[in-house]
């Protein structure tokens, strides 16, 4: 029977939740790296026991941890992230120029073909790659060196590169997203990048349709349709049918279209999930009711999923990398909250139950479906 392993990064350590395919009883292990901020953990698609984790601290900086046994044991690997060439400046919150400075790794994306090949999205925004299992990291400088770099600004969480999506069959195509610069795509393996933000409208920037400057919170793709992208922007849920060349809004009947997470059903590429958040100044669910919204039409028509989720006095947030899906049938959906709960649904969102409910604030959730 298949198994599911959920990798949870929190403000104070990492946790691993494991279950058989029924997804009813869960074993919880951790905390790993207790007391450290664990921004993201992710496993290699080709070697599920090869895991990478971003471990960081305001006191002690950044570490990258690697496991070869599914998270039972870990070893620190390379943690030197040095920008290539002249770093230049981006804009600070007040519009003044500020030098690029490494702060932390937000997202780790292992290659689809080689467990030693792995990408890292960092703050201040840049993408790095290691081809030796995380020992040596080199920047793909074409992204930061895109001519628009001096105009990028940090979002409230920092100027982070938080999304890396690898095309399933074209190794030269990679999507990234940056708060608050927008989405970018390379078609030459990372040498050159171009913004893919046409159709985004952001009232909070001087030019609402600017080429860059949009606060993209997360982007998701189904591997069977790599040209279709879904985006949760600061405000607005968006969809692209042409690999990001243009976007249309699909917020439809959502009660609020602010939010952070967005993800796609494992077997239904037009079924997507978001967790609406009240507003950019009130980062909690509308009316204190934690609700996942599902669209089976790729957006616009949304249904509220509430069964098993708190429907009163719930004022948590669900951060951008804190939702993931398994590939069992029925598809499992998982998300973590800043209140320390990790909720799971073994029926594609129809019903929910907490797997754990008292962890530190959850920063990221990734799921592995194991044989």
């Amino acid at each position: 029977m298949s198994k599911v392993r959920v990798l949870v990064g929190t403000r104070k350590g990492a946790f691993i939740l494991e279950s058989d395919g029924k997804r009813e009883r869960w074993d919880v292990s951790g905390p790993f790296f207790a007391g450290w901020e664990m921004y993201h953990l992710k496993g290699s698609p080709v070697d599920p026991n090869r895991l990478y984790a971003s471990q960081c601290s305001d006191w002690f900086g950044q570490l990258i941890q690697r496991s070869n046994d599914g998270g039972k044991t870990w070893e620190p690997v390379g943690n030197k992230f040095e920008y290539e060439g002249v770093t230049g400046t981006h804009q600070w919150y007040d519009g003044t120029p500020r030098p690029w400075e490494f702060k932390r790794v937000w997202h780790i994306e292992p290659s689809l073909t080689d467990p030693d090949d792995v990408y890292a999205g960092i703050e201040d925004a840049a993408i790095f790659r290691s081809t030796d299992g995380g020992q040596i990291w080199n920047e793909l400088p074409g992204l930061r060196g895109h001519g628009s770099g001096p105009d990028w600004q940090p979002g409230a969480g920092g100027m982070c590169l938080h999304t890396i999506i690898l095309h399933p069959s074209d190794a030269n195509r990679i999507y990234t997203a940056i708060s608050a610069a927008g989405a970018f795509r390379t078609d030459d393996g990372g040498k050159s990048w171009r913004p893919i933000n046409r159709g985004l409208f952001s009232q909070y920037i001087p030019s609402p349709t600017a080429e860059v400057g949009h606060c993209v919170h997360h982007v998701a793709m189904h591997p069977s349709r790599p040209g279709t992208l879904y985006m949760q922007k600061h405000w607005d849920v968006m969809r692209s049918n042409d690999a990001g060349d243009s976007w249309e809004e699909v917020s439809g009947n959502l009660p609020t279209d602010f939010g952070f997470v967005i993800d796609v059903h494992a077997h239904e590429p037009e079924t997507i999930y978001v967790v609406p958040i009240k507003s950019d100044s009130e980062h909690f669910p509308l009316d204190g009711k934690l609700t996942v919204y599902r669209s089976r039409t790729g957006g616009n028509d949304w249904e509220a999923l509430t069964k098993g989720l708190p429907q009163a006095n719930c004022y948590v947030n669900v951060l951008r990398d804190a939702m993931s899906v398994d590939s069992l049938d029925k598809c499992g959906i998982y998300f973590g909250t800043t209140g320390g709960q990790v909720y799971g649904s073994a029926d594609a969102g129809d019903t929910w139950a907490p797997i754990v409910r008292d962890l530190p604030a959850v920063l990221s959730v990734e799921v592995q479906t194991l044989p």
Binding site: F60, P76, E82
Partner: protein
């Protein structure tokens, strides 16, 4: 023998329980102590000083003999009591809640 006391998180990371003891040939300075520490415990690379700039991480301070040594030249000699092992060299994390 130089004695170094690390913050708890770094002791865990380096798999040490208490003080770290280092043999240093030549002058005992901030740089020579940190070089020897990182050579013996490479998992500490980047956790005390930035790997690119070699600057002390801003939330850490260095103390010994009831003196704040954080701002002294990294190549200046440390106190004799540290060099002789009579007193430990302390790496202290800023106290902050949460």
């Amino acid at each position: 023998m130089i004695r170094v006391v690390l913050p708890a998180h770094l002791r865990t990371l380096a798999h040490v329980d208490s003080e770290v003891e280092l043999d240093i040939k030549g002058e005992v300075t901030l740089n020579s102590v940190l070089d020897a520490l990182e050579a013996m415990y490479p998992m500490l690379l980047g956790t005390i000083r930035d790997q690119v700039t070699q600057q002390r991480r801003p939330f850490l301070r260095f103390f010994a003999c009831e003196e704040d040594l954080s701002y002294q030249s990294p190549d200046a000699p440390l106190p004799d009591a540290v060099a002789s092992g009579a007193e430990p060299f302390l790496v202290i994390g800023a106290i902050a809640g949460g």
